[in-house]
Symmetry: C2
Subunit: 324 residues, 2 copies
């Protein structure tokens, strides 16, 4: 199947890597809003096209993987591109999913294409595990912990403070809370009791670090509800120690069955690279989107609607024989 | 939807508990090979019928959950009952799944029913997680660890030794191996390096405990490939400390994505009651079987073929709004 990558940041590059790992997939090309001549991709002989030209290739691409941001790109990109392509995105603004779904569904149904939104690990694999665990244990309690991992949004928020040259923020789960949940105790946990925030900040020369630290710790929504630690370090140290984009976390549901027995279901991820892992999930679901469209199953889907076998390159017979 | 339970041991009782926890399900009745007058079930006013009469009620039952053993019951029961019912079983002899599938599929397709086999946690939820993780990380390595949990088969094997009055065997994962896998080291592990076996044995009065211990530790297939520890205890201690049926384990896949980044995906279960949890999985999948049959999707399925949303009592809209 021929894959198009629309947008070539960290996520798009991750999709390109993922396509290389899947022998049944082939990169048709990368579409970028930058000047294609300035964009060098990893695939030998791989093509780069201007984003505006994408519809010229609508007969050549089986699935277009849209690697844009949820804030401003995807709400317009995904419905627009679903008019001409089978598409998949990683839209992650949880509260706006129903609206995004309705718009993409309308576009895909009209054009006879298949779309899948909000794919990745949260939303995505974490959502799936919440659903499975809730269906199995109707009487129970859900917990999601994130980290230790880099939050791009929180890092950006720190960088906007006056006197800050660079910053990296890690979201960390409170281990004692995770352990209590794993023991099946079903604690009630406040925001502060679930996660802490760890910030590495490079101050500009002469900047007032005490004021910067205070501004970070009191920033509403981002930091004020958390126990936040701020370390001032040099740009060299930040570049050497904090340039990766690791992330992860866990979804835990604990519940009781009739005989008063407690069960703990946990799904956890430890990811060296958040975008490369997200991209790998997108590639697997691109296979499903391709198959569904071949069968005439059009409109917008989410990970909840896709049977697991659709993700695998193996046949149903192979899966039953070797993986069940 | 009306559920029939065919077989009323620990698993059947667990299904009965699970039906009580799901407001959209109702117990039609329990079918037993014992004298129905001697079988007392948990559901107030619940009915118990002779197993031989089950086809009399084929119009009254939406899904029949077959709670028999994999060795001798299910290979004949499930295909036979699929002639008259939508059925679900927990067939767990991994090597025989393709044969069992073919026979159940033929019966269900002929009769226009929907069947689902090999449901539970392994095969079942563990299989699903192997599939998802393999699809996401095509370059990687799988590990499954079981325990700490009671193995009924190994406990039975010890009880067959002369001089043994009672026994309980726990399968335990080797924690150092699990930790190495979680660090992404992808070790090659022998059988002995993955699990140990812990046995609590009640010897009959005057029995030669040294000989019993030797017979256990050298028993082929069951114990000789493992580091096995044997403790002789009293019947009172066994009854007080070891009458539960806990189990669990974890499925871990570690793999690399293109940029040389390592990712660890882990799904783990800690279960106070193996049969009650398995039963809860069966109940959730019974909902899916019911829905598929209503849509005319007949024949035999496995957990690989079922879209996650089919397991949930919530609507697709609710799931997208609250669980994605």
């Amino acid at each position: 199947m021929k894959i198009g990558i629309y947008g070539y940041g960290n996520l798009g590059k991750g999709v390109e890597y993922a396509v290389m790992q899947n022998p049944d997939m082939e990169l048709f090309g990368v579409f970028t809003r930058r000047d294609p001549a300035t964009v060098h991709i990893l695939t030998e002989g791989g093509k780069v096209f201007p984003a505006d030209d994408v519809t010229k290739y609508k007969e050549d691409i089986d699935v277009l993987i849209i690697c844009g941001g949820s804030a401003t790109d995807l709400p317009t990109m995904t419905p627009a591109l679903a008019a001409d392509f089978n598409v998949i995105d990683s839209f992650d603004t949880h509260a706006d999913i129903p609206t995004h779904f309705a718009r993409v569904d309308a576009a895909a149904k009209t054009s006879g294409h298949t779309a899948l939104i909000s794919c990745g690990w949260d939303p995505g694999m974490f959502s799936l595990n919440r659903l499975y665990a809730n269906a199995i244990l109707p009487q129970g309690k859900d917990y999601t912990f994130w980290g230790k991992g880099v939050s791009q949004g929180h890092s950006d928020a720190i960088r906007r403070i006056e006197g800050v040259a660079d910053a990296r923020q890690y979201t960390c789960p409170v281990e004692a809370a995770v352990e209590a949940v794993r023991r099946g105790e079903q604690p009630e946990l406040s925001t502060r009791e679930k996660h802490t925030r760890l910030c590495y900040v490079v101050a500009k020369p002469g900047a007032d670090t005490a004021r910067i630290e205070q501004e970070i710790k009191t920033m509403p929504k981002y930091f004020s509800d958390y126990d936040t630690t701020v370390h001032f370090i040099s740009q060299e140290e930040l570049d050497a120690e904090h340039k990766g984009i690791p992330h992860g976390g866990c979804v835990i549901r604990t519940g009781q069955t009739g005989g008063g027995q407690t069960h703990v279901i946990e799904y956890s991820l430890k990811l060296d690279s958040n975008p490369e892992f997200t991209a790998s999930v997108l590639a697997a679901y691109a296979r499903a989107v391709y198959r569904l469209n071949k069968r005439g199953d059009t409109g917008c889907k989410t990970v909840f609607d896709i049977a697991p076998a659709e993700l695998s390159a193996q046949s149903p017979e192979e899966l039953r024989a070797h993986m069940l």
